[in-house]
Symmetry: D2
Subunit: 357 residues, 4 copies
């Protein structure tokens, strides 16, 4: 019961190591007869690509997708859609000195404990490179959702101590895609840029947070009691490398609130029943209400800092290491499209589970 598949009706199986031949995935459960939009999938992958953000790893690899199956004459056939992204610009020799050393705050030690073997080259299977497969899977999931104009947009809400102060519904989210840091607020972007420049000069890294909003989602998605929509969203987000927290609606703030503050009257708007303020984040009792869904994900800073660090090697000897290779100062901007993609897969899964046509 390994864990490389996500979803029940819309399923992505992921494979591949950072410095292996290729990474890739198989999507099973995509309905037939949907026009296949390969340029869109490639564009989503490009958003995640290193080199696309000023503070990300200078590994220049274009993540070019190759689709192997499930498409005929430009349409999905209902058969599994398998795809590959070959690994080209890998420099495994950067990692040779790490062969027997457990890097702090990486997966090296725990994975070795589990498997008794370790592909040390670039983190192997534990590398964040596997999130490219999630982006491809999410872009395929979007094929199902956009037939009904479901709209999923994430953005950088926080980098280190710098926060967007405006709530999502007062931001112009269309700004996000053109921001080098994927932050829709230009003033905040500037401050974040200065902060990251400083960290870069110190060889240090930063954590951050992403907000994601789903619009136009119909009511009725989600399955009580264990597969609640927020439960599956939380799992999807917390399965991302470096994710440390998830909240939706009023989130952790709701712990401080009174019922009379938090409660959300139902009102009529254009003869439709809806929520007056949506502190519930668009989900009640685990099922979508038909209002905006919004949630927030916190990420820890990248572990690959450039200063010397104390650690231990396989022989249980203390050692000092200094990590080489090409690394991100902050991967949160690149993670925006990954968060959107995981969200799209959860929504497509529950869409199909609900039997929406």
């Amino acid at each position: 019961m390994a864990g490389n598949t996500i979803g029940k009706a819309f399923r992505l199986t992921s494979f591949g190591e950072s410095h292996g031949v290729a990474i890739g995935g198989v999507v099973d459960g995509c309905p037939s007869n949907i026009p296949f939009d390969l340029p869109f999938i490639q564009a989503q992958l490009d958003r995640r690509s290193p080199g696309n953000s000023p503070f990300s790893s200078p590994r220049t690899e274009k993540d070019k997708i190759e689709v192997l199956s499930g498409i005929f004459e430009g349409k999905t056939t209902g058969a599994p859609i398998a795809f590959l992204i070959f690994n080209k610009d890998k420099k495994s020799e950067d990692y040779d000195s790490l062969r027997d050393i457990f890097r702090p705050s990486h997966a090296d030690f725990s994975w070795f404990e589990k498997y008794g073997i370790r592909d040390h080259r670039g983190g192997g299977r534990s590398s964040a490179r596997e999130t490219a497969v999630r982006v491809a899977g999410g872009a395929i999931a979007q094929h199902i959702l956009r037939k009904k104009k479901v709209d999923i947009q994430a953005y950088v809400d926080q980098i280190g101590p710098i926060h967007v102060q405006t709530p999502y519904h007062k931001l112009n989210l269309a700004n996000t895609i053109n921001s080098p840091l994927q932050c829709p607020d230009p003033g905040v972007t500037q401050k974040m840029t200065s902060y990251l420049k400083e960290l870069a000069s110190q060889g240090d890294t930063s954590g951050g947070a992403i907000v994601c909003v789903v619009r136009n989602l119909p009511s009725g998605l989600g399955e009580p009691v264990f597969d609640k929509l927020q439960a599956d969203l939380a799992k999807a987000m917390m399965s991302l490398p470096a994710a440390r927290g998830f909240e939706y609606g009023a989130g952790f703030t709701s712990a401080t609130m009174k019922g009379t503050e938090h409660n959300d009257p139902f009102i009529l708007r254009k003869e439709k029943i809806t929520l007056a303020k949506n502190d519930s984040g668009g989900i009640q009792g685990g099922i979508s209400v038909g209002s905006d869904i919004y949630f927030r994900v916190a990420f820890k800073p990248p572990a690959s800092v450039s200063n010397k660090q104390q650690t231990v090697n396989c022989k249980k000897q203390p050692v000092e290491i200094q990590i080489k290779g090409r690394h991100d100062v902050c991967f949160v901007p690149r993670a925006v499209v990954v968060v959107e993609s995981m969200c799209a897969m959860v929504m497509a899964d529950h869409w199909l589970r609900a039997g929406i046509k």
Copy 2:
């Protein structure tokens, strides 16, 4: 693909409505030949019982468990363990006036949208009463874990604006079980009590947060890449009624941190490799390290406040309601054992998936 089963190797299937004949569950996957500790299961249920906390619903029902299968001569047989908790002290007539009305911030509307039918009596299947089944499931899961002395303890960390300030490892968690609010810090408990008394007098309710700690867990639990230990924990916690946020290790704080601050050197302690400070919350790359696992869950306030509220009925007419029945001022103290139970089921599931004997 309904969602009433959780787990892959250790599986709980849950059923039952708040005002139906009974609620109950079936545990499949419990190994054979384990001495069955029914008094422990009952004691766990008693911790969740209404009436066990000064600020919970005065519904006095004892949740007495009856086990139907899977046990022979005091031991588990490897067959499914089915159990029931009959519903006795239900007052369905309290809910008659709500038959056609959608209560604010309850599951009434979204569930009606999904199913086109609604059992309005006490929330039906959406009632938090179903968490009793989770407690029984978790108590059975503990049978597997305690063979190796894995220890799971949760406690109330926050009620409304009042917080425990001390980190978990400096608290005496043994205090928790005797605290009326399940909070191990007596000074904080007192403040929380005053706060809740005031809210009770106003007919209002409060949110809160729970911290949970897992000790003595071996390394190697968790499955990359989607079924990471924290991902399954997050799903389990966010499937709880009223949960709004989940974080582990440094959690949302890690978003503000630098890599050099957050990184966690490996050190040797009694010839064992371990973490110097454990900001990772005991999990790296989705797999347990062998250190303490700790996480925090935020809950919104109960929706059943006693003041008048605006809402809408099934005929899309605005109406005013005032909720009767017996309700909690704050269910967070009762949720402590529920959080422990969900945690135990996730750990037992990954225990069996890892093939630990």
Copy 3:
């Protein structure tokens, strides 16, 4: 990863031992708003009941079903439907002498090897009594299928050396239900009766075979490549106690055929594309064609014969046993409704998986 749940969209989880408190099940995935037909479910259970057939165990227990959840005001709610059948007429003392002995051709030895513990009373969980749960599950599955008049009928095709010679489409299947042996051919029934009387007088038992026919099933059910309709049918049937073979369409005979004989021209009938002769048994490439589905299941004779037998006990000593208790001469007539029920669950599962409304 125990195996007490069947189905993906329509799921039955089964529990209970022959001489425990009760047997029962939980159906998850039944759509909401279907009128619930409890008398039909009870009637199906009655067809399986011991005492309903002249050559079955004289255990007189009425398998009275009690439904605990998932129904509100006579309709399904979409919540899990849990049900119980209490064990009343059990005589566990009949089994005391077998406590440490492995009965030949029962599950005693292999289960003890697996679990290291054994509920010897009436076979415990391995008793064919658990098929009552399948019948209840199948009767609930029929609620979905009969909305579109899908018709499932099984009958006894063979007992020992005595066979029905007429193909199913030339038989009057309406005769089955009133036949004491569930065989629609009166002449064959008479011969079977004589045969079984003779065996009964010798304390011996007989195997047999059942044919099952599904009519009015739409095309498009089944999932390539592993969850083909016939694959899931085969699994369902071969999971029945004592089943030893499964074939559909021309079955084992097709091994002897040439392509020119077996091939099945498509023809037009009432402007509908259909099969000229249906040697394919209504399934091609794993997916229903829209023609009749028919298959055949072989069962071995009951192992509980009354003569003395050689075997071995837990201490690895050879012993001689003579089995007491109340046993069937031939359970194939009682298995007819069980085969129909398993078939109904497979069809309902694929019905929901195909998203048929």
Copy 4:
């Protein structure tokens, strides 16, 4: 809930169309640290290859496997093992005339009914070419089983009317691999050869049957009540293209038997409890006994005969077709390794589910 994945602990996800870029699969759940035997996997694929048998399709393609992930320095890492087999020698133009025509006894019509779209080139996803993926999956599964010398051998037992008369335990199964028809009995092989030559000259095809034997399997594999070992075997076998029947142990013959004939005394052999004659086929109550497991699978003749056939096209017009392309007279010899492979995957799955180390 598409059906392209098989297994719970050892899982194969399959993808690819006959005339697409490639077919391939992903194995998830293979334990780490097993030496990877690529030559063995390739050798198994070669056994299935067209051109390896005198009566199979002259498509000469070597099914060369390329492994993309999950292996490091010659050992499994516990990560998913993805592999590809590129499609090289495809002649899609042979199929152009069939674009709008439903070939009799192929999957064309039922798949079109399900998906509303059809890749007509070589059967697309419904082609038996996908069984190459199963062979690779099975060869990987063998890596787990052969650590404890579990031995799986299948052979051709029947082609058309010609049968092997000797039971498996009196045959020299080592002959199978060198027989052009994968039949261990040289005399029978000769008769089968003559029969197939005659059919080939007529452009006709033949069905057949395969027997498979599993030796050295430990007791305790299989999960009651739905995932019995024989149930999962039956599903695996009946998911093969053209399979029409499955039986194990005494199989359909047991329907004719009396209990006193069929019952299988337990005896002691070398201080081990075992079965005197094993009519149970090595499985009792769904769980392996520790004796040989044996079963038999029937296959219909290939549908691609060379004579003219009546059928219908997409526009519901009757048409006459004559199938071109390169086809098998009898694929049963090539299916021998496929049967072994499916069996290996079922055994490895239950091996891991049972937690055997």
